[in-house]
Every structure is written in structure tokens, then in C-alpha cells.
């Protein structure tokens, strides 16, 4: 009995909600970024699972979207972490609770 599409989707939904958990319930900025990366990876898994089980697996659309999504996630992680470092230099804190002013 090989795994069906619904099993893969359940795993990806679980990963997404764990990522959401990390992004919503922690106060350290880097934890939030970890949660966002987990959510992006779960969405990629979703794309590839649908590509594999879908009606036309010979067209590589799902794989292409996943590749571009990985590239964009890397760029976003880089800029997000640069922001965290810049904020740390200015405010000496990484807790997002303390970042509540629009004026620096």
C-alpha cells in the first residue's frame, strides 16, 4: 500500500501549522523567521505532491514553481536576517515586543 496524496497533504499541513506556531507564539525575531521558512518549505512540499499525483505529471510546472519558490525563500531569508541584524545594532534587542515605534 503506497502512500496516497492525502497523506502527503496531511504532512504538509502539519508542517505548515508547526511553522505558523513558531511564527506566532515566539517573541524572538529569528524564531519568527524560522517559522516562515518552515511554512515556505511546507508549501513547496504541497506543490511537488500535487505535481506527482496530478493529471499531467510530464509537464514540469510543479517542479518549476518549487524551484523558484526555493530561490525566493533564500532571498527573503537573507534580507530578513539582515534586517534583524540592523535592528539589533540600533535597539540592542531582538524581541519583537520592543519594536513598537515607527520613528527610530
Amino acid at each position: 500500500m503506497s502512500p496516497t496524496l492525502s497523506l502527503f497533504l496531511i504532512i504538509s499541513a502539519a508542517l505548515f501549522s508547526i511553522g505558523l506556531l513558531a511564527a506566532l507564539s515566539r517573541r524572538h525575531a529569528i524564531f519568527i523567521l524560522i517559522g516562515i521558512e518552515l511554512m515556505l518549505a511546507a508549501a513547496n512540499l504541497n506543490f511537488i505532491a500535487f505535481w506527482r499525483f496530478g493529471p499531467q505529471p510530464q509537464s514540469p510546472t510543479g517542479v518549476m514553481v518549487a524551484i523558484f519558490s526555493i530561490a525566493i525563500a533564500a532571498a527573503e531569508a537573507a534580507v530578513g536576517l539582515a534586517l534583524v541584524i540592523a535592528v539589533y545594532r540600533h535597539y540592542r534587542t531582538t524581541s519583537v515586543d520592543k519594536l513598537d515605534q515607527l520613528k527610530g
Binding site: S2, P3, T4, L5, S6, L7, L9, I11, A13, L15, F16, S17, I18, L20, L21, A22, A23, L24, S25, R26, R27, H28, I30, F31, I34, E37, L38, A41, A42, N44, L45, I48, R52, F53, P57, Q58, P60, G62, V63, M64, A66, I67, F68, I70, A71, A73, A74, A75, A77, A78, V79, L81, A82, L83, V84, I85, A86, Y88, S95, D97
Partner: protein, 160 residues
């Protein structure tokens, strides 16, 4: 596709992700995130998309995880309290999970087994990238350049 491999990889990935979300020390959470990423790459291999699995290991584990641990290193404080845990987030996450599971289980067409396909070679991915997806490729290139320049400007120290 074997169920034994699927179960093992699923347990590994979910354990890594849960550890990444809930461990108190940041560096342990970042290293468990690496386990979760490797597990997701193993899923990609299981699903027959080997190139994406290799790119996942290369980019996420080799670059994003190294970035995260470097940032943890550079923003360390001696009196490190990682702040309290916000239980409202747990409730929302469980609600989202329940909603997604309900939507998945309602759909009957998702319980079919996998069709047999021919393997997607790297050559085919290359051909498609250069013909059908040339515009997204250029846009992603532009985006990565912008991210590179932006990241450098954000952390460059101003000359005194």
C-alpha cells in the same frame, strides 16, 4: 513508493519541525530546523523530484541555515531570555491545522495511488527553464541581485 520509507521520513521531519518551533534555546532550534529541511528533501526524493531535493539541501541547508546560525551568533546577548511563550499562537495553529485536515479529508479524489511517470531529468528542467520559463528566470535573477545589494546595504557600517 514504500510506506516504510514514508513513515520514517515523516516522523523525522515532524519531530524536527516541532523541536524547531518549541525548544527554548535558539541554537538548538536552528539545528533541529536543519533536520526538518533534510526530511523535506527526502520527501522530494521519494516523490521523484530529485533535482528539487538536491536544490533544497543546497539552498536551505547550505545557505539559509548557515545564515540563521550566523545571525544567532551575531545577535547574542549575555543575559539571554528568549521571552515568553504566547499560547494564543498555539490555539490559532491548531485551528488552522484542523481546518486544513477537514478540507483534505472531505475530498475523495485525493485517496488515489500515485501514477507511474517517467523520471524528470535535469536536462528537461534545463530545457523548460530556458524556453517556457525564461521570464520568471530573469525576474528571479533580478530579485536575487536586489536582495544581495539590499542585504549588503542594510548591514554595512556607516563610515564615521
Amino acid at each position: 513508493m514504500s510506506t516504510a520509507a514514508f513513515t520514517v521520513i515523516a516522523i523525522l521531519t515532524l519531530a524536527g519541525a516541532l523541536a524547531a518551533a518549541s525548544l527554548p534555546k535558539l541554537i538548538h532550534a536552528a539545528l533541529c530546523l536543519v533536520i526538518a529541511f533534510v526530511g523535506i528533501a527526502a520527501f522530494f526524493f521519494l516523490l521523484g523530484a530529485e533535482f528539487v531535493g538536491l536544490v533544497q539541501v543546497f539552498v536551505y541547508v547550505g545557505a539559509v541555515a548557515v545564515l540563521i546560525v550566523f545571525t544567532i551568533l551575531l545577535t547574542r546577548r549575555a543575559d539571554e531570555k528568549t521571552g515568553g511563550f504566547n499560547w494564543g499562537g498555539v490555539v490559532i495553529a491548531i485551528a488552522v491545522f484542523a481546518g486544513l485536515i477537514w478540507a483534505i479529508l472531505q475530498t475523495p479524489s485525493l485517496s488515489l495511488p500515485a501514477p507511474l511517470i517517467e523520471a524528470l531529468t535535469v536536462k528537461r528542467i534545463g530545457e523548460v527553464l530556458m524556453t517556457d520559463y525564461i521570464w520568471p528566470l530573469q525576474c528571479v535573477g533580478l530579485l536575487l541581485t536586489a536582495a544581495l545589494i539590499g542585504g549588503l546595504i542594510l548591514v554595512m557600517e556607516e563610515k564615521p
